[in-house]
């Protein structure tokens, strides 16, 4: 049977992708950030997951305001890196896992989560930057990816609680799939940042670090904080952090943190990264 072995969360700042693609990882500005992912790449090489269910948000790329799905599951065979207005990132196409994705869709909808099914969409930096951070710059991604796009652009996004419960439903779905697959769930975006208005540039290190602590040991309680607290304490775009709760809901109640990294700034954003293994 398929199983979920670990969860990862990481920010997905577009400037990180631009720095990687532009060969700037050793610049003084970027070096400390990329150093925080060195452990992760080694850890990942030993884990060899078959599939990553990657929770991210589209940034007005695949979805305009014509259609705004709250949860959209990528069930296609292949997803192309999007042209976000300055040409697509020079990264490999993302290979999906249509069989597992179809299984998850059917199982999760029958558990009362009304997913939108997407067979064709391009994926933006929200999905490709985390892949680059965890796998570097290979010719082909060494894993299949099932994208789960969450609306966090048009308010209101789903609640933290709903995201956490969706993670639990995804876990039940994965564990009922016949096929011996090692699956990871990633939650991306965050941490504190605000990109708009006179309050732009907001960073809340104390709140971000408390979020890390509670994600590890009090996820149930953390999942109950209201949207208002994210927006007030972590900035209007910090609300992306609800996506980390999908990842957390898919893991055991007890988890083992094997890597934790926090860095300010990447452009306008506090970067957070955590690797959690399922404790047995």
């Amino acid at each position: 049977m398929a199983h979920i072995s670990a969860g990862i969360c990481t920010s997905h700042v577009p400037a990180i992708g631009a720095a990687l693609d532009g060969g700037k990882t050793q610049d003084a500005y970027w070096k400390p950030l990329f150093a925080g992912y060195e452990f992760s790449k080694h850890w990942m090489a030993a884990q060899r997951p078959d599939v990553v269910l990657l929770v991210y948000n589209d940034h007005a790329t695949a979805f305009s305001l014509d259609i705004v799905p709250t949860f959209a599951l990528g069930c296609g065979e292949r997803f192309a890196p999007a042209d976000e207005g300055w040409g697509p990132r020079p990264v490999p196409a993302v290979e999906g896992h249509p069989e597992l994705a179809a299984h998850i869709a059917q199982s999760v909808i029958q558990q009362d989560f009304d997913l939108t099914i997407v067979n064709r969409m391009d994926v933006d930096h929200g999905l490709t930057v985390p892949l680059s951070l965890m796998f570097g710059q290979p010719q082909a991604w060494p894993v299949r990816v099932i994208p789960l796009a969450v609306n966090v652009v048009l308010y209101p996004p789903p609640s933290g609680r709903r995201c956490f419960e969706l993670g639990r439903a995804i876990r039940r779905a994965v564990e009922s799939f016949e096929g011996d697959l090692n699956v990871q769930v990633w939650g991306t975006g965050g941490m504190s940042h605000q990109l708009q208005g006179p309050r732009a540039g907001l960073i809340n290190q104390a709140w971000d670090n408390a979020f890390f602590d509670r994600l590890i040991s009090d996820a149930e309680g953390l999942s109950r904080i209201p949207h208002l607290e994210y927006m007030r304490e972590a900035g209007s775009e910090g609300i992306e952090l609800v996506m980390w709760l999908v990842m957390r809901g898919a893991l055991n109640e007890r988890v083992r943190p094997v890597h934790r990294f926090y860095h300010v700034p990447a452009s306008n954003t506090a970067v957070g990264h955590l690797i959690l293994e399922n404790s047995t």
Binding site: A60, Q196, N268
Partner: protein
């Protein structure tokens, strides 16, 4: 019963909710059209003519011409859609953010390097009067 919108008390912040999205639908769709090189070229060649093809309000058109991002957000723009507009001008998120705060690029970049803007004093409009 009216909807509760407690986030309106967060100073210097406009949450892109359903009401803002309704107001800004065409504005945001215009911005999105700039992802296509053809549209970018037509917009750059004659901004006014390109804008007149969209059902935008005169205020929205003028705010686009002025690249007044705070005003565009007030008129229903969302930052991820507006990013297509400032990217067309060769500007980054950090440059656009600095402009919206009224700080110089240099001062804004220095603030970020020293840990960003503290939330203290920025949680509620009462703190800023």
């Amino acid at each position: 019963m009216p909807l509760d919108k407690p986030y309106k008390r967060i100073p210097g912040t406009t949450i892109f909710d359903a009401e803002q999205a309704r107001r800004g639908y065409h504005l945001n769709q215009f911005c999105m059209s700039l992802m296509k090189p053809d549209n970018r070229a037509r917009f750059k060649a004659d901004e006014r003519t390109f804008l007149d093809q969209w059902p935008l309000s005169e205020e929205q058109k003028q705010a686009v011409r002025a690249r007044d991002y705070n005003r565009l957000i007030e008129l229903g723009g969302n930052i991820y859609f507006l990013s297509k507009l400032f990217s067309s001008d060769g500007k980054s998120f950090q440059q656009a953010a600095a402009q919206m705060t009224g700080m110089s690029q240099q001062d804004y970049a220095a603030m970020m390097l020293s840990g960003g803007r503290s939330p203290n004093g920025w949680r509620d409009i009462a703190e800023r009067s």
